[in-house]
């Protein structure tokens, strides 16, 4: 009984802060030794998906450019801002547009929240695309990372799906017509089944469309379905896949790096300085911690045997890596706040099912597709995207060469291959576009031509064929499949950019060609 006097209780209370912190963190605070720094990572539910140490090579900003992280942070930002939007938004055709107007003009800070959600969505698509570009050019899809590339492709698809479904929700003219076009692309299988006269037996087109929009035209059913996809189904799939994506990075031993990464690190002055700085700090804090005794010390003759920087060029994730991540977060946030403060998300007139916008343009990342769709709905909207996705998915399984990876472009040969491919892609694509704009296509010359011929022979399919031929030529020339992959990927990337520019700046009312929007007819 005497043990539980007032004195003991006050003493226990005084220790409360420390003992609570330790129970909460599961490791001493602040973490000083290398071991405690590791604990800061793997004793933490949120941090333990990454490994406790990170190779200095992966900390080089120019290697990842933080693009995957930016995508992830934007996803978080979109989730949070999206929940705020849901407070006022109702997915009905009567209310949706009014609610969005209220959010923009009445609700406190509503405008900024909506802006953040809108620019965040554009930013996420942009960041995910760039992230894929960096993963490709650094050859980071090789060896054990093959399947994570596939997970990445799924994430790309889901990201696009999230943007597309979100696009309908404001229920304005832009939303209505962009989504009408999208839903009819899903139905464009009938371009093929009609040509084969089998639509009566297997109508894949209408099946897809009805499943997606719950009817034949965009209405309440479509809005309900898109809302569900946008706020529950796709985000859950996305966060699950992100979890798998991250877990696999960890299992693959962190980010990819060349086999001679350690030598490269030694020769890089800035990195060497950074390593020295980190090492010095660790030694200092370990030495300052006089009460700590190291059992290992008797075995290994060194002051702080845990700080094995020189052995494998890794540093503890805590705090260096975590600070690097937090700075990427801060940069992302500032960019988003800046955009949202100065630029407002557009909102057109309320959806009008009987008069389309003219021109009716999808968001920028679909404008390349819209250009292709303007040659053939099926090929542009389903055929070519499917070919591209399958092609991307096959890359790691076809290019299994043990060439330089973890290095941009796999070195000089890759850089020059990429340069040549940009040239090839730009010249051939611009020629074909100019030809089509000036002279038209098959239907203008042979009015009675069957659709099936146009489906398979149009500017879109021809350019895909040319790109594939170019890549085969590069493989022949260099004897390297990695170079072939670089050529193909570069052609498609440059093609995507050119088509997007074409759709954004050079297409006006009736999808006619104009040198600039200032020449659009007024009506």
């Amino acid at each position: 009984m005497a043990n539980y006097g007032m004195k003991e209780i006050t003493a226990t209370l005084k220790e409360l802060k420390g003992s609570f912190l330790e129970s909460f963190l599961r490791h001493p605070w602040p973490p000083r030794s290398a071991r405690e720094r590791s604990q800061a990572i793997f004793q933490n539910f949120f941090l333990h998906i990454q490994s406790a140490r990170i190779h200095l090579y992966s900390l080089k900003p120019a290697f990842t450019m933080g693009l995957g992280l930016i995508s992830f942070f934007l996803f978080l930002l979109l989730t949070i801002s999206g929940i705020f939007l849901m407070v006022y938004y109702n997915p009905t055709t009567e209310l949706a547009y009014i609610n969005v107007k209220d959010i923009s003009f009445v609700v406190d800070y509503g405008r900024y929240i909506r802006n953040i959600h809108r620019w965040g969505a554009h930013g996420m698509v942009f960041a995910v695309l760039l992230h894929m570009v960096r993963v490709f050019y650094t050859g980071s899809y090789k060896r054990s990372r093959k399947f994570n590339w596939i997970i990445g492709l799924l994430l790309l698809t889901i990201t696009m799906g999230l943007s597309y479904t979100g696009y309908l929700l404001p229920w304005d003219q832009l939303a209505y017509w962009a989504v009408t076009i999208g839903a009819n692309i899903a139905a464009s299988f009938s371009e093929i089944t009609n040509a084969l006269s089998i639509t009566r037996f297997i109508d894949i087109g209408s099946f897809n469309k009805q499943l997606l929009i719950g009817g034949n035209t965009i209405g309440q059913e479509a809005l309900t379905r898109f809302y569900l996809l946008h706020i529950i189904i796709l985000p859950i799939i996305c966060i699950t896949l992100i979890g798998v994506h991250f877990w696999r990075i960890r299992k693959d031993g962190g980010l990819s790096r060349p086999d001679n990464a350690d030598e490269i690190i030694k020769n890089m002055k800035s990195i060497a300085d950074m390593a020295d700085g980190i090492k010095g700090k660790q030694e200092k804090s370990a030495a300052a911690d006089k009460n700590k005794t190291y059992g290992l010390m008797e075995l290994v003759k060194d002051r702080t045997p845990q700080v094995d920087l020189d052995l494998d060029n890794t540093v503890p994730m805590w705090p260096t890596g975590v600070w690097a991540e937090i700075s990427v977060l801060m940069v992302t946030l500032s960019a988003m706040l800046f955009l949202s403060y100065f630029f407002d998300a557009p909102l057109k007139e309320i959806a009008n099912p009987s008069v389309p916008e003219n021109p009716a343009k999808a968001p920028w990342y679909f404008l390349g597709l819209q250009e292709l769709v303007s040659y053939s709905a099926f090929m542009g909207g389903i055929g070519i995207p499917a070919i591209v996705m399958i092609g991307l998915a096959l890359i790691p399984y076809i290019d299994k060469e043990e060439r330089e990876f973890g290095v941009w472009f796999s070195g000089a040969e890759g850089r020059s291959t990429a340069g040549k491919s940009v040239l090839f892609s730009a010249v051939s694509l611009i020629l074909i576009l100019a030809f089509t704009v000036k002279l038209g296509w098959l239907r203008n010359w042979f009015p009675g031509i069957p659709q099936i011929i146009i489906t398979f022979l149009n500017p879109g399919t021809i350019i895909v064929f040319l790109f594939a031929a170019w890549s085969v030529y590069i493989i022949k020339l260099t004897g390297s499949r990695r170079m072939g992959a670089v050529a193909l990927f570069t052609c498609f990337l440059a093609g995507f950019i050119i088509l997007t520019i074409m759709g954004t700046y050079f297409r006006g009312p009736n999808w006619d060609f104009y040198w600039s929007p200032s020449q659009w007819p007024v009506h």
Binding site: S188, P359, A377, N510, W511
Partner: protein, 155 residues
């Protein structure tokens, strides 16, 4: 005897394994099918496909009127009435009457006066719908029944 028995036991094990995989796979497959089927709408909450558009005298001879709700053009000339769908066969935008034909704002499909494609990505011409007369004297358009352009309803 012993061998045969062993073989039989292995077979039974194989059988059970296959049956179990089949049961799990079948359940998953059926689940997907049922989900998909239940998401296919049975009733469409949309304007009716067969609709009245008014009395013949509401339309002037040699006129083209656009009925917004149903997205059709009602054309009347000296020979009678025709109904032309305004929905572009490419990706579903609404075409506009240009005087000597129709053009679509979305990807530039052009159609002539008879609805035939003359340019652009539309895979086929605009649909002509069947026009008939209801007992009360009003015109009825049936957008489920497409007809040749030449068939007109004489009044």
């Amino acid at each position: 005897m012993n061998d045969a028995k062993e073989e039989k036991q292995l077979n039974r094990r194989d059988f059970l394994e296959k049956a179990a995989i089949g049961a799990v796979g079948g359940t998953a497959g059926l689940f997907c099918l049922v989900t998909m089927k239940s998401c296919l709408p049975k009733v469409l909450n949309e304007p009716p496909a067969i609709f009245k558009i008014g009395y013949p005298n509401d339309f002037a001879v040699n006129s083209a009127n656009y009925i917004a709700e149903q997205k059709v053009f009602i054309l009347r000339d000296s020979s009678g009435f025709r109904a032309l769908s305004a929905i572009c066969t490419h990706l579903g935008c609404i075409v506009q009457n240009t005087g000597n034909g129709y053009s679509c704002p979305c990807h530039g499909s052009k159609f002539n006066e008879t609805g035939k494609v003359t340019a652009g990505p539309a895979p086929r011409g605009l649909d002509w719908f069947k026009v008939s007369m209801a007992p009360d004297g009003q015109l009825v358009v049936n957008s489920r029944e497409t007809v040749d352009e030449v068939i007109t309803l004489n009044v």
